[in-house]
Symmetry: C2
Subunit: 101 residues, 2 copies
């Protein structure tokens, strides 16, 4: 099983992950992505969904028109693992291609 | 503009909409769909996204693995309109095909 990151590891990882922060009230990381419209927001979600399914690691996410709020955590590990950091990095890369804020 | 339903119209529409209820604390309708897995949940969302985009009427929704929580309202009308009922009906039809609970 992928191991839960220590506080120091988590903070180091967040330093390199633009836009992500620790989620209030639980051990998870969050980011809100804002796109130009629903087409872009759902296009982003679709690309991420394929990655999530392939790696069997899925986000919690909420979409309202052009925004996508994401929370990542590894339930089996009871916290944040490298798998969350990897998925966050993949999301940032896709969002950057789409010109998200 | 599509007109906001009256309380009586809203309640009549909800009678025929299996699984939907009035959203607590705001004038909107909600349903949580539960699928077998992420593949089905996101497949559902993808079909609904195409309908939403075509009709220019979009849901607020949250996906966690195999569940999709939906809230529908018509922001321009300040409440629930026929457009929300139509989207809810379309969601129910797609979910039923997929065998969702």
């Amino acid at each position: 099983m992928t191991e839960r990151l220590t506080t120091a590891e988590r903070q180091a990882a967040l330093q390199t992950l633009g836009g992500w922060r620790e989620t209030e009230g639980r051990e998870a990381i969050s980011r809100t992505f804002t796109f130009r419209d629903f087409n872009e927001a759902f296009g982003f979600m679709t690309r991420v969904a394929l990655i999530a399914e392939k790696s069997d690691h899925h986000p919690e996410w909420r979409n309202v028109y052009k925004t996508v709020e994401v929370v990542l955590a590894t339930h089996d590990a009871g916290g944040i693992t490298r798998r969350d950091i990897a998925l966050a990095e993949a999301m940032n890369a896709i969002a950057a291609q789409l010109g998200a804020a």
